[in-house]
């Protein structure tokens, strides 16, 4: 079976985004804020309108356009479990105008949400396969919903590995989850950092240095990757060497986005809009886009 990225059942949501409301955000309230790293926070959000909240369904890999009122809009991927109905989480790195303004908001503040947008990790298609998740830095956030989904449906999948590389131990996202996951027998979690500190006893080096430790059957496995472009590039080279076929390496591409619905043109790579036909792509599909230079 040639793997392609999945299209979620409800591409642009049930009530949000359909018809006249396509560009109008839905109000959500910040219920909790978790400091992940010095420049990253996870915001737990709940929709103000309960009816809407009940109807809101999304799939791992999708994202929303987050409005910080007074600052603007930015695309942020879902970072929580899709099975959780009463809230969802967004992990926001403080990098620009909108994300900077988001970091200043307190609990109880109201933000705007448009979504769910984009396509999703092909979690249905890969049932029965070994799953190797490789992430770097803030790339763990878009993969976290996939990880939580797989863990909740553990028997549907084969061997399950997570390789995670961060710059320093303090820069790791979801430290609480990593600690819990490391305790599991059915989930192999390997971590590495570029630069260690006094307390770090784990691997030091780039994430590809963890690959030799992975025991997986490439003929029936899929790699889900997300991280800085250079990490993806070198990881993919190693995965090819390990015997992964091009359609079994899946990544989430990042691009500057504005509308999130395939109209404004910013996220276009060749003839493909990342916000509607992505952000999840297989390496095979990415090779069809000359602009990526693969």
């Amino acid at each position: 079976m040639v793997l392609t990225a999945s299209r979620p059942a409800n591409m642009w949501g049930v009530t949000i985004g359909a018809g006249d409301r396509l560009y109008l955000p839905q109000i959500a309230i910040i219920e909790d804020i978790i400091d992940e790293t010095p420049d990253t926070k996870t915001f737990k959000l709940r929709f103000e309108d309960e009816e809407f909240a009940k109807a809101f369904k999304w799939e791992p890999g999708q994202f929303v356009e987050l409005t910080v009122f007074g600052a603007g809009e930015a695309p942020i991927g879902f970072a929580s479990s899709p099975l959780e109905k009463s809230f969802f989480e967004l992990t926001v790195v403080n990098r620009g105008k909108v994300t900077g303004a988001m970091h200043l908001l307190p609990k109880g503040a109201k933000v705007g949400i448009r979504g769910p947008l984009g396509n999703c990790w092909p979690l249905e298609q890969i049932k029965g396969m070994d799953v190797l998740v490789i992430s770097g830095g803030c790339g763990l956030a878009p993969l976290r919903p996939a990880i939580l989904y797989i863990l909740a449906n553990r028997n549907d999948y084969g061997e399950f590995w997570l390789l995670y590389g961060a710059r320093t131990p303090a820069d790791r996202d979801f430290k609480y989850d990593l600690a819990e996951w490391a305790k599991r027998d059915d989930f192999h979690v390997l971590e590495t950092v570029d630069v260690g500190d006094e307390s770090w006893t784990g691997n030091v080096g780039v994430v590809t240095t963890l690959l030799p430790h992975v025991k997986i059957n490439p003929a029936n496995a899929v790699a889900l990757t997300c991280g800085p472009p250079i990490m993806i590039k070198f990881t993919t080279i190693e995965l090819m060497k390990m015997g992964f076929s091009e359609d079994r390496v899946v990544t989430s591409l990042e691009r500057y986005m504005k509308c999130g619905v395939g109209k404004c043109g910013h996220c276009c790579i060749n003839h493909v809009y990342i916000c509607t036909e992505g952000p999840v792509f297989t390496y095979a599909d990415m090779k069809k886009l000359p602009e990526l230079g693969l």
Partner: protein, 361 residues
Amino acid sequence: MKVGDTYILAKTDLPMFFAAIGHEMRLIAPRAFFGGDVIFDIVESPKEIVWNYGHDIYPPKRFLLPHYEDMFRYTTGDDVRIEPLPAPPKQAIVGIRSCDVSAIRFQERFFGDQIDDPYYRARSENTVLFSIVCNKPPKRECFCICCDSGPYLESGFDVQLTDLGDRYLYEIGSEKGEQATQLGAFMLKPAEPKDTAERKRIELQADSLFQTVAYMAKAIMFVSEDQVPAQVWEELGSTCFRCGACTNLCPVCTCFTVEDRPEPNGCFTRCRSWDSCQFSGFTREASGHNPRPTFGTRVQRRFYHKASYQYILRDGRHGCVGCGRCVSACLTKLDLPSVVKRIRRAMHKYLQPQPASPNSS
């Protein structure tokens, strides 16, 4: 009156006909401004309409995709409220040409593709186009014959007018056109065979009068196959002034940026405005990484969007209607006909003929 019908509208009846249309909807037509400038704008009376204009720089696409468009307003603070803005008014764009009509149809298809853009839909539903056939190319820079978008259309128009001297041939091409025609139907007479014959004669003659051509086939091939070397693109980009005129004036271009604009009373208005892939900030990410860091990569992007198989398949036509505005508006020579020619000629240098195999018999 139905789609496919052809009528005659006497030139003397033109003002009254459009006055009747103007009762029900606002009229947008070419208007004369200072120093001979002609711009599509709201006209108060049909008498202001300039029927035989040459250059008009500002495309009528702005009445469907405004240059600066307010999307909605919101208040901030504890009680955040989002206020959508009122629906756009009904409008008739009169005197628009086949190239611009083709472009609007392209944009309607684009904005409705996969998911519907509600602002564009609201405006396009409320817009009827009374287009006019070009008996001769209005300016030297026109090349619609190279793009299947003029000088007359066989389909895709609402109402198409052809100047037959003392009268106009009046063709209804869509339901919207049909409905709008009801307003002035009493002034129309059925067309006769001599009218359609005259129209045919005009069509055949018009094609031969074009001065600018863009032979696109080879350029489309090279661009689609990603065969044009980076050096060629960089050479093209080395003279670009980065003004964004090409994308602003192109009736096909649709890219926009979105900004939250503060208002004096403390509210904010989310506004979208024309953006251009020719700006370096168009793709620069928050981290500072820019997938299109050079002028050459951005020029390459624009021509990929204008002339590649991939987009032709996706959009139903290539991204150029030959209106010639980029030729007039570019401060250097990065208009489509010039670039297409330069790509073809540059590729001569790079595509060497393959030597025959020494063993061939």
